[in-house]
């Protein structure tokens, strides 16, 4: 499997890279909290290579073992990357598919055997905090003192009930990708992708008229609770100043004009055959883009696999932020995982709690962020994570991601957000399938979300 081989290769490169870079970091003394920690660790054992031999000989204490729970194979790369620079702590990656992750995690927390570190999809953060499951990471955040986090991440991404319970681990944002060759074929300027709803419609119409391609691979309201109604739809609402619910979390605002405008935009796209079926159960939007049957696709930030699957597309594609209504501000959904420590770890074993905190420190360091960006293919929480040679080389793709990280929105945070996806998904489906007008559909969604908010 190409994908897997690539991952192994990347892991190899990552391992090699980390060794080299660790050396540089030590020499340069870049003053980062976690590098200092590493230096100290190395000092204890009298040099990395020696420590391992010492451990092998049985004279040193064996490293503290902790488990990192993540949702997808590539994230396993965090374990070797971290272990490379830490002799006193050994991280083991435990990968469980997303759908099952939280059910298992809940069971584990309930039984008192939760993993030490968890990559938790950020939209679940409030519910887990509400259940008293997560340790307070505020002191750790203050101690690290990084001051270059991307703006939208604090407080929304990390904070619930005024307390920081998770730090941004790897960030995913929503953007669209486009095929520059197709743009040229359609008579469009490949260097200025459409920015407003109207421009987007015009460009799509031009592609439809002048080429054989379907303009856009789109999905908003497919099944499988993947959350595309938040990930792809909400940025268009935010762009017009709209919101899912008000600040006080007492009332949904999804029936207001920005949401109606956004839904009408998609309805036009769909009715004029400018997009693939946005209610399809095949929720993957990239495959038709990769095999060049569409010229554009709504996408997550995880696109590096296109390089292997279709180099000719990869060479000639661009990324752009979602369109906005006239006078709005382009937006993006900043999702992804927060890194958290279950509260019970703090209670059960101070030693493991410290080890877990060390992992989090590392994850926020340049070294950890490099793993996020280069080995795994997601975005880092801090600006310095995007100020690397690797990102520089790929600037044609990363420039828009950086803009998305600055201009985007963290998810609407609420313990019942998962429950609210359902009414929104249903409303989009009904409007797009022509069962209801956008106004009717969104007004129904509003009243359904209101009743969820009012359940307390």
């Amino acid at each position: 499997m190409q994908e897997i081989e690539r991952r192994r290769l990347l892991q190899g490169i990552a391992a090699a890279g980390t060794i080299g870079l660790a050396g540089c970091g030590g020499g340069g003394g870049n003053g980062d909290g976690s590098s200092d920690g590493n230096g100290g660790t190395g000092g204890d054992g009298g040099g990395t290579g020696d420590t391992q031999t010492a451990n092998g000989g049985g004279s040193g204490s064996s490293p503290i073992q902790i488990t990192l729970r993540e949702r997808d194979d590539p994230m396993a790369a965090y374990a070797p990357a971290f272990n490379e620079g830490h002799d006193d702590i050994e991280v083991k990656a435990s990968i469980q598919p997303p759908e099952e992750k939280y059910r298992s995690l809940i069971s584990e927390i309930n039984a008192g055997n939760a993993p030490e570190v968890v990559g938790l999809d950020v939209i679940y953060l409030p519910r887990f905090v509400e259940l008293g499951a997560l340790a307070d990471l505020g002191p750790l955040y203050n101690e690290m003192g990084h001051d270059d986090y991307f703006d939208p991440l604090f407080p929304d991404f990390t904070t619930w009930n005024d307390t920081i319970h998770g730090l941004p681990f790897w960030i995913d944002c929503s953007v669209y990708v486009y095929n520059k060759a197709h743009f040229e074929e359609a008579g469009l300027d490949p260097e200025s992708p459409p920015e407003t709803f109207q421009e987007f419609l015009d460009a799509s119409r031009a592609i439809k008229e002048n080429t054989d391609y379907t303009p856009l691979a789109l999905n908003l309201a497919g099944s499988g609770s993947l959350g595309l109604e938040l990930f792809f739809f909400m940025p268009h609402v935010w762009a017009g100043g709209g919101k899912l619910f008000n600040e006080e979390m007492t009332e949904s605002l999804i029936d207001q004009q920005p949401a109606i405008d956004a839904l009408k935009f998609f309805k036009t796209m769909y009715e004029e055959d400018l997009s693939t079926d946005p209610t399809s159960n095949d929720t993957w939007t990239l495959p038709p883009f990769i095999n060049q049957s569409t010229s554009m696709a709504f996408s997550a930030g995880y696109i590096s696999h296109i390089a292997d699957q279709a180099p000719e597309v990869w060479e000639n594609m661009g990324t752009a932020m979602f369109p906005k209504p006239e006078g709005g501000t382009q937006s993006s959904f900043l999702g992804g995982n927060a890194v958290v420590i279950p509260e019970q770890i703090k209670q059960q074993s101070p030693e493991k709690f410290e080890a877990a905190k060390e992992f989090i420190r590392w994850s926020q360091s340049e070294d950890g962020m490099r793993t996020t960006v280069e080995d795994i293919g997601y975005l880092p929480p801090r600006q310095s994570g995007l100020e690397t040679d690797y990102v520089e080389e790929q600037s044609h793709l990363y420039d828009e991601f950086t803009r998305a990280m600055e201009q985007g929105h963290a998810p609407p945070m609420h313990p019942k957000i998962i429950q609210m996806q359902d009414p929104l998904n249903g409303a989009l489906a009904r409007a797009l399938l022509g069962e209801q007008t956008p106004e009717e559909a969104l007004s129904q969604a509003k009243s359904e979300i209101d009743s969820i908010l009012q359940q307390g």
Binding site: M1, E3, I4, R71, D72, D73, P74, S94, Q96, P97, P98, E100, R103, S104, I106, S107, E108, N110, A111, G112, N113, L226, W284, L286, P287, N291, A300, Y302, H305
Partner: protein
């Protein structure tokens, strides 16, 4: 002749010669066979296509070129050999476990008249109705306390328990149908009680045991909700858990590989059924006797 009569005649004659009814019957069977075969064919055909042939429209009805590559690629994505071994262990363990416990229970309920026999039978029927998912979290809790989380034994015990009521339900109906005189004769002849169960009853319900066992085996072979929750180490995964890994969240599912492994996963059970199909039917047939 009424319509109903025609219909039953069409379905249920055994006259010789190729009558119209018989032709229609063959057509009905043909449609059924096609209905069954098309999705199966599509699964196997897709598993023999390379990635470039996946998702194209119009679809390639026949893989061109046909390649075994997806099988090799998929096999390399995880320790599939180990998954198969695990699945065999878990399914066999659960089958044996459930039967070993359910058979004496069914025997007691079917062949003895004792105070409480009716409520106990109803209790088993009731247990059969439990939607197992509702017990997931407390069951995990229990297994964690017993140190059985992330063990094959834990999963075997869970499956055995869940299929206990099912097995009692099926075996009970086999056993109620055996002639009363059997045990009477044995008892009068002074045959010890354990021999009556072991040497008289058990051989007679063997077909029932085979049929029930096969059903348990098939269902546990494919179960994934509990397997996924209880097993956490990759080296303990069953096939159905392994199959989940093809539905990654960050890329398109590798359909050809998923279907390749699905074909491999289905094959052992299909072969098992093909081999024992007569015994299986014979076993199930025990159910019909009053």
């Amino acid at each position: 002749m009424s319509v109903a009569d025609r219909l039953t005649g069409f379905l249920d004659t055994d006259q010789g010669g190729l009558t119209l009814a018989q032709v229609l019957r063959y057509i009905a069977v043909l449609i059924a066979v096609l209905f069954v075969l098309i999705p199966l064919y599509w699964m196997v055909a897709t598993s023999l296509k390379d990635a470039a042939q996946i998702g194209v429209f119009p679809p390639n009805l026949v893989p061109d070129p046909a390649t075994l590559e997806p099988y090799f690629e998929a096999w390399d994505t995880g320790p599939w050999g180990q998954y198969f071994i695990n699945t065999v262990i878990v399914s066999s363990g659960a089958t044996i476990g459930a039967l070993a416990i359910a058979t004496p229970a069914a025997y007691a309920l079917a062949r003895f008249d004792f105070p409480g026999s009716n409520p106990i039978y109803l209790l088993f029927m009731g247990l059969l109705m439990i939607p197992a998912q509702i017990l997931l979290i407390p069951l995990y809790n229990l297994l964690a306390n017993l140190g059985l989380v992330d063990t094959r034994l834990g999963l075997i015990l869970v499956y055995s328990t869940f299929f206990l009521a099912f097995s009692v339900f099926l075996l009970h109906s086999f056993m109620t149908n055996l002639p009363e005189s059997l045990e009477e004769a044995a008892r009068i002849g002074g045959v010890p009680e354990w021999k009556i169960f072991g040497k008289v009853i058990l051989p007679l319900v063997k077909p029932g045991l085979t049929a029930t066992g096969m059903l348990i085996f098939v269902f546990t072979w494919n179960e994934f909700l509990f397997a996924l929750t209880i097993l956490q180490s990759e080296e303990l995964y069953t096939i159905s858990v392994g199959l989940q890994s093809f539905q990654g969240i960050h890329g398109a599912t590798m359909y050809n590989q998923l279907f390749a492994m699905s074909t491999l996963a289905t094959l052992p059970v299909v072969i098992l059924f093909a081999l024992f199909s007569d015994k299986f039917i014979e076993g199930i047939a025990g159910l019909e006797m009053q």
